[in-house]
Structure formats: structure tokens, C-alpha cells
């Protein structure tokens, strides 16, 4: 009991177990989690298939319509991309594309009710570094806080320690998207007088260097006076495959503060 209380006291003083030990501990349990996830994913896929059989015809129709629309959008996007590229080269603006360091699966979750984090199946051997942003197909989900050899832990946007500098897409105003340990985010530090509307999208602003600019973060779902609640655009409730971006935060946290307390984004 004394040992446990001492460990808690060390955590409170900010000198708890070094992150690297936790990261290697994750490496040890990862093979077991990978084995366990196979039957679970098979059962989940089977249940989804059974649930989907009844409305497969309607879904097929909707997908055809969506496909037609997407083809038109693709043409427009390619045209805009070419034009953008031409203008960038004329103005000598450097490209902002961030290549992926790794695409991997979520193999575990952590934190219980205290922290929002997931364990992913890529680590230092896959060129994942601490602080790398992590996205899924719809938006930002968080950033890497521990890197083991074969696994990494990702602090999700919804964690209470998560702060992401964002920009209101409609107006360009800057603010901070703050996690609350719940499914929704809160918008903080928005300049006075900015009218936020339900449905507004928030993108990363790129400030602070933790995230590259213009990644989709969240959508406003409720505005009560100065209290703005947002729903993350990343599918945090159904995470499967995620992409770790090869984007090195500036300054490099590992180099600057070797054992800094994790969390603040």
C-alpha cells in the first residue's frame, strides 16, 4: 500500500514512470491484443453484415448516387489542384502536403474513464515520433504521446489534456478546441464578437506547430452564449485504421523536454 501511495505521490509531483517504460510495456502486450482483436473484429464484421443485409438495396441506390456526385467533385478537385499547383509554383509558395509515416490499426484502448487514448500498431520502427498528428479518413483524431518500438499511444482530441489550435473555416477566426473527457469538444478563446453558427467547421490553424494547417477537426453542434460545443469530425467512436502523419512538431518536444508531463497539446 505504501508503494502504491508513493507511486501516486511521484505522479502528482510530475516524476512518475517514464513514458518510455510505459511505451515498452505496451509493446509487450501488443501481440496478445493483436490475437484477441481478430475474433472480435470478425464477430463485429459478421454482425454488421447481418444488420446490413436488410437494407442493402437502398444502400446500393444511395451509393450509386453518391458515386456520381463524387465523380463530378473529383473532376472539379483535380482541376482546382492543378490550378493551385500552378499558382503555387508561380508564387514560389512551398507545398503543404504532409506524407503519412504509417497507416495502422487501433489495437487497444486505455485510460478508462480518466483519459481518452488508444494504442496503435505502429512505433519507432515505422518512423512514428512523439507528437506526430494522427488522422482517420474524416479528420484529426489526436497525436502521439508515447512511442514504443512496435506500438504508440495516441492522445485523442476528446481527452481533457488535449488543446488544438483551430481556425473557424467560415470566418478564419482563431480559437482552441479543448477536450473534456466526453464525446464533445469545447471551443475556447474565440475573439469577442465572432458569430459562431451550428454547422460551422473547424480546421487546424497550424499555430504552435503541433498540427499542420487545414486538417478538419470538428463541427459546431451547439452554441449557448459563449459556450460552443463541437463534435469531432474524426470517427472517434469507430476507430479502425488510422494514419500517422510524418509531421514533426516545432520545437521537437523530445529534444526540448525529455520527461515532460504528457498531455497538453
Amino acid at each position: 500500500m505504501l508503494v502504491a501511495i508513493a507511486l501516486l505521490a511521484f505522479e502528482a509531483l510530475g516524476s512518475g514512470v517514464p513514458n518510455q517504460i510505459r511505451a515498452y510495456a505496451n509493446d509487450i502486450v501488443a501481440p496478445v491484443l493483436r490475437v484477441l482483436e481478430q475474433p472480435i473484429r470478425a464477430v463485429q464484421a459478421g454482425l454488421e453484415r447481418i444488420a446490413g443485409v436488410s437494407d442493402i438495396y437502398l444502400e446500393n441506390e444511395e451509393l450509386r448516387d453518391e458515386n456520381d456526385r463524387l465523380r463530378q467533385w473529383r473532376e472539379a478537385a483535380m482541376q482546382l489542384s492543378r490550378e493551385n499547383e500552378r499558382l503555387r509554383s508561380m508564387l514560389k509558395v512551398p507545398g503543404r502536403e504532409v506524407p503519412p509515416a504509417a497507416t495502422t490499426r487501433v489495437i487497444g484502448v486505455g485510460g478508462g474513464a480518466f483519459e481518452r487514448s488508444v494504442l496503435i500498431g505502429a512505433g519507432s520502427v515505422d518512423a512514428v515520433t512523439r507528437g506526430s498528428p494522427v488522422v482517420d479518413e474524416t479528420g484529426v483524431i489526436g497525436r502521439v504521446i508515447q512511442v514504443g518500438r512496435w506500438t504508440s499511444r495516441v492522445l485523442l482530441l476528446t481527452d481533457i489534456n488535449s488543446r488544438v489550435p483551430v481556425r473557424l473555416e467560415r470566418t478564419g477566426d482563431l480559437a482552441i478546441a479543448e477536450g473534456q473527457n466526453e464525446s464533445l469538444l469545447r471551443l475556447r478563446f474565440l475573439p469577442q464578437g465572432v458569430q459562431v453558427r451550428v454547422g460551422d467547421r473547424l480546421l487546424t490553424s497550424g499555430h504552435g506547430g503541433a498540427f499542420p494547417p487545414d486538417l478538419p477537426v470538428a463541427r459546431v453542434i451547439d452554441v449557448v452564449d459563449d459556450f460552443v460545443l463541437m463534435e469531432p469530425l474524426g470517427l472517434l467512436g469507430k476507430l479502425d485504421y488510422v494514419r500517422v502523419m510524418a509531421y514533426n512538431p516545432v520545437p521537437d518536444e523530445d529534444a526540448a523536454i525529455p520527461d515532460a508531463k504528457e498531455g497538453s497539446q
Binding site: A4, V29, G108, G110, E182, S183
Partner: protein
């Protein structure tokens, strides 16, 4: 004489380690992304259920060191403050051993109610401890939800552990 001195967990042979092994499996199960991928709020605290169950039925097979080691791994793998689950599991053992004489042999419903009350107290304690460690009051709602899920899961998980106990011992 030597046999008398040996700890119960050893004298039962492999069967003596079943409670600890089963609870260790629960530690790993708590990390599996079931249902929601974001965070296992909806995942009951299987380790707490398992420790309480085995302490209620075979207290000697869940010694203090086992509670501490299980709590240590849970803290390490769930990435919560180190020592938190160690304290919670050790307090569970302390409580059950002190109060077992009052509820041993009573119905499963009584065990369930006692578990619900004990786990509520432990969740309140963990909320206070983690808020202190993080230096900010955490929202209590996710914790309350996990406590409800854990309390309701005691009966089915206890049933499965009971089957395991009958099969292994």
C-alpha cells in the same frame, strides 16, 4: 509442517493460480477496443469485478501481492496514474477481508449490492485522486457511467467466474 507454512495459493497447485490468471486475462481484456473504439467507458471494470468475486469466494487465492501486481499492470497498460489501481485493489481486499464474515454465505443479490456500494466508493476515491494528480477536477459523468456499467456487469461476469471456479477447483 512445511506444507502448513506454504501460502494457500501454492498449496493448491495450478488451481490455486486460477483466480490470479483469470484476473490477469481481465486486465488484457480491458484494453481490447470493444464497442466504442475511442475509450472503454462502456467497458466494465472487469478487474475490480474479478478481484471482488475471488476475494468473496476464495480470499486466500487472491493475496495482497497479487492485488498489487494486477493493479500495477492495469495502471501501466491503461496509462492511468501509477499506483491508482494498486490502491483500489488493495483497498478492495482490505474491505472484503474485514467484512466477509458479514456477507459470506448470503445470496448473490447481497454480494451484488455490496459490490455496487463498494465500487461506488472506490470510483469516488479514484475521481478525487486522479483530479488531485492532474491538478484539475475531472468531469464526473464518464466515471458515473463506468460505475453503472461495472455495477450491472457484476452478475453476468460473476456467473462466468463461478463456472470457471467450479470447473477448475
Amino acid at each position: 509442517m512445511n506444507a502448513l507454512r506454504r501460502p494457500a495459493i501454492v498449496s493448491f497447485g495450478f488451481a490455486g493460480f486460477v483466480p490470479v490468471i483469470a484476473t490477469f486475462v481481465m486486465v488484457i481484456l480491458m484494453m481490447v477496443p470493444l464497442g466504442t473504439g475511442a475509450a472503454n467507458i462502456a467497458m466494465p471494470n472487469l478487474v475490480l469485478i474479478s478481484v471482488f468475486y475471488w476475494l468473496s469466494s476464495r480470499p486466500l487465492l487472491m493475496p495482497y501481492w497479487a492485488c498489487a501486481v494486477l493493479g500495477f499492470f492495469l495502471d501501466l497498460w491503461l496509462d492511468v496514474p501509477m499506483g491508482l489501481n494498486m490502491v483500489l485493489l488493495l483497498l478492495t481486499r482490505l474491505f472484503v477481508l474485514n467484512q466477509l464474515k458479514h456477507f459470506k454465505g448470503r445470496s448473490r443479490l447481497v454480494h451484488w449490492v455490496i459490490f455496487a456500494v463498494l465500487s461506488f466508493a472506490l470510483y469516488v476515491l479514484s475521481w478525487l485522486v486522479v483530479s488531485f494528480v492532474y491538478g484539475a477536477m475531472l468531469p464526473p459523468e464518464p466515471l458515473a457511467l463506468q460505475w453503472v456499467v461495472t455495477a450491472f456487469s457484476y452478475a453476468p461476469v460473476g456467473f462466468l467466474l463461478g463456472r470457471l471456479r467450479r470447473a477448475a477447483m
